[in-house]
Symmetry: C2
Subunit: 410 residues, 2 copies
């Protein structure tokens, strides 16, 4: 069997599972998720042993410490992962929700209802917990999922997949359709052709969601025949306006840059209005020195994502120049204006073409949890279907159900 | 300048126009659309002359009569086209609508608002009125549009584009930003590489919408790096259940097959429950004979889109077999069940994985106008972003606007 045939076989099973998933109500899905959480706990030793093998191999191969860290399933991360499954149980199920309802003069009655997407393909890199996190979100929304992880985490992912499978099997018993066992599948080949095949079968996959670096995502988009929901990177901006409260500006800058610099919603570029530059820049420089942040003031590289304690700094003449700069060099993720001027704030919020635009708040809030979605499967800088954090609702589509009493079109 | 450079230049101008369009309110956009409608009327003779040249050339080249018909801008079609622009003026503007609003414990206030998509690329074939119809819908939603028509309609499209441009220029005057003049652009090269280039510049194009045959759409999707909203074809089904009112079934079948057989929501396959086949099939055969419909009962070709007075016919054992058949061979467009059995109806509406599912009504209702959207730019069988008829709302995305008073993430 070629890699492509192998992937297509998974796709065919996932499609059948997706049809079977539509027959489940919320209660049944929650029961399955609880059984999966229990089975993960019962399989803890096997999972830890598999993960230790992956970590040892990664160290022996001389992989970067940051990568080894991401790969490691510590006790705390294991617990957070299992707690995450139980948290998804508690979230409301969007499937079946009525989005619109109307009668038409022709006599038909139209109901627009939320539906599962069908089959979701998730391609992730080194964090094994992504397997469980995304599988739980997809199952809760009645979507089948096919997961493909990084080769350095294969043993961990196989151990997780086996635990999840056992949980599904126990819950299914002999009464439920066996197709449900294919609701959560792991791609076991780590051949790169596997990713390509996965995104080229629209008959079996409805959407692909990459969870990884820009290179992986670009390769997927180039090959894809299915829609891909993603953000390539997060090049977030803070613009300090003429009428800014400079204490507030520094507090927001500090939070957005240093609280977790490796995240996509961390700020990468500070734009300062020329009229406050003399007052503000010395404070920025003192802050940078104290916090170990490298400022790029002469050697700016607009549009760069540092993911580290580095920051591009630019001086702009007004809010219009700031908006134009951000729309040109940004990644359409998250941007903030700090100002007391409501007119400039409104202009910035309206004209900056990003998923999340902030007035007097940190860009770090762009997150499913912080937005009140409960959980997120990723963040999108796309404009179609989902923009910004993607939670359970973003894992659904809709359908029109129309009823009549023999209505025909005239 | 290569074709690709030419297309990229249009893209760059469209992106600038999209930013300028964001500054307009509904009143300004409606005024522009009214001026465009007037200018089309004033340019009627030039447009008719250009269209006559296209039609003459098409006839001389021996193009199929159906294609020559589609190309012809009759007086009635011209009037309908201009009336269509004025109808779009009357529709509510979805841009700026608040979709969700909430306070969070962190102190931030989140507003989810409808936003324009940005730049829409429309690729169409022989009907010149598509130029004006789609341009008006995109302008109303503050989207810039790049249109690429078929080469057989080039003279007509150029004449229409010039009239629209004149209208835009008159409305803009000297006070509005000149970037607005690029809000509606026609690709003047008919080189096939132009389509390819158009769908491969995500920095300038946010979504592509093909309006044409399956071959065009498949070629676009294969090349695309931007999202494509489309339906490849419409292979719609009617399932006549055991508990069907057979008079109603025949009435719905007649409407769905013969009222306008060339449309994507016309029925292409009839599935009949075995228990009513003896009673129903003689009536179907008599109807087919009377209406000149060719029935494919032995020589079925599941999944075929006839777009003509032809119909595949199959016998199934029950509603489950009908659902499985439709999910396997259908195009996920529109399907109907005719039955008095509410349980089977509910099952059909829930489990058939199509954009529109009908109970006791004709599939012909899948249409923006019939659904009460006012107008449509196309119909999608995709599941992401838009499913079924796409009206003004489907030409928008959303954005999160967050306000705080110095809120930072802890």
């Amino acid at each position: 069997m070629t890699v492509e045939e192998e992937i297509r076989a998974l796709g065919k099973k996932a499609r059948a599972a997706a049809h079977a998933l539509r027959t489940l109500d919320t209660r049944a899905k929650n029961a399955a998720l609880r059984t999966i959480a229990e089975m993960l706990e019962l399989s803890r030793d096997q999972i830890a042993a598999a993960n230790a093998e992956d970590v040892a191999a990664a160290k022996a191969a001389g992989l970067a410490p940051s990568l080894v860290d991401r790969l490691t399933l510590t006790d705390a991360r294991f617990k957070a992962m299992v707690d995450g499954v139980r948290a998804v149980v508690e979230l409301p199920d969007p499937v079946g929700e009525t989005l619109m309802e109307r009668d038409r003069p022709s006599g038909i009655h139209i109901t627009k209802v939320r539906e599962p997407l069908g089959v979701v393909a998730v391609v992730f890199e080194s964090r094994p917990n992504v397997f469980v996190d995304t599988a739980a979100l997809c199952f809760k929304t009645s979507n089948a999922i096919i997961l493909r992880g990084g080769k350095e985490a294969l043993k961990s992912n196989v151990a997780l997949a086996e635990a999840v499978q056992k949980g599904l099997a126990r819950w299914c018993g002999t009464e439920r359709p066996p197709a449900l066992l294919d609701a959560i599948q792991l791609v076991r080949t780590t051949d790169h052709d596997g990713v390509r095949a996965l995104v080229r079968m629209p008959e079996y996959v409805d959407v692909a969601i990459p969870r990884g670096g820009e290179r992986l995502i670009r390769a997927m988009c180039e090959a894809a025949l299915v829609p891909v929901l993603k953000h390539y990177k997060g090049v977030c901006h803070i613009y300090v306006d003429e009428q800014a409260d400079l204490d507030m500006a520094l507090k927001i800058l500090d939070n957005a840059k240093t609280q977790r610099p490796g995240t996509c919603n961390a700020v990468e570029c500070l734009l300062v209005n020329a009229r406050v530059a003399n007052a503000f820049m010395p404070r920025v420089e003192a802050w940078a020195k104290a916090k170990g942040v490298v400022l790029h003031e002469q050697d700016v590289d607009w549009g760069r994502e540092f993911l580290a304690l580095e920051l591009n700094v630019g001086i702009v003449m007004d809010v219009d120049e700031a908006i134009a700069h951000i729309n040109t060099y940004g990644s359409h993720h998250s941007e903030a204006i700090v100002t007391r001027d409501e007119v400039n704030a409104a202009k910035f919020l309206r004209l900056v073409d990003s998923a999340a635009v902030y007035h007097n708040a940190s860009t770090r809030f762009t997150d499913g949890g912080e937005f009140g979605m409960g959980a997120e499967i990723g963040i999108s800088t796309d404009k179609l279907h989902a923009r910004g954090p993607m939670g359970l609702e973003e894992l659904t589509t809709y359908k029109y159900r129309i009823t009549g009493d023999g209505c025909v079109r005239s």
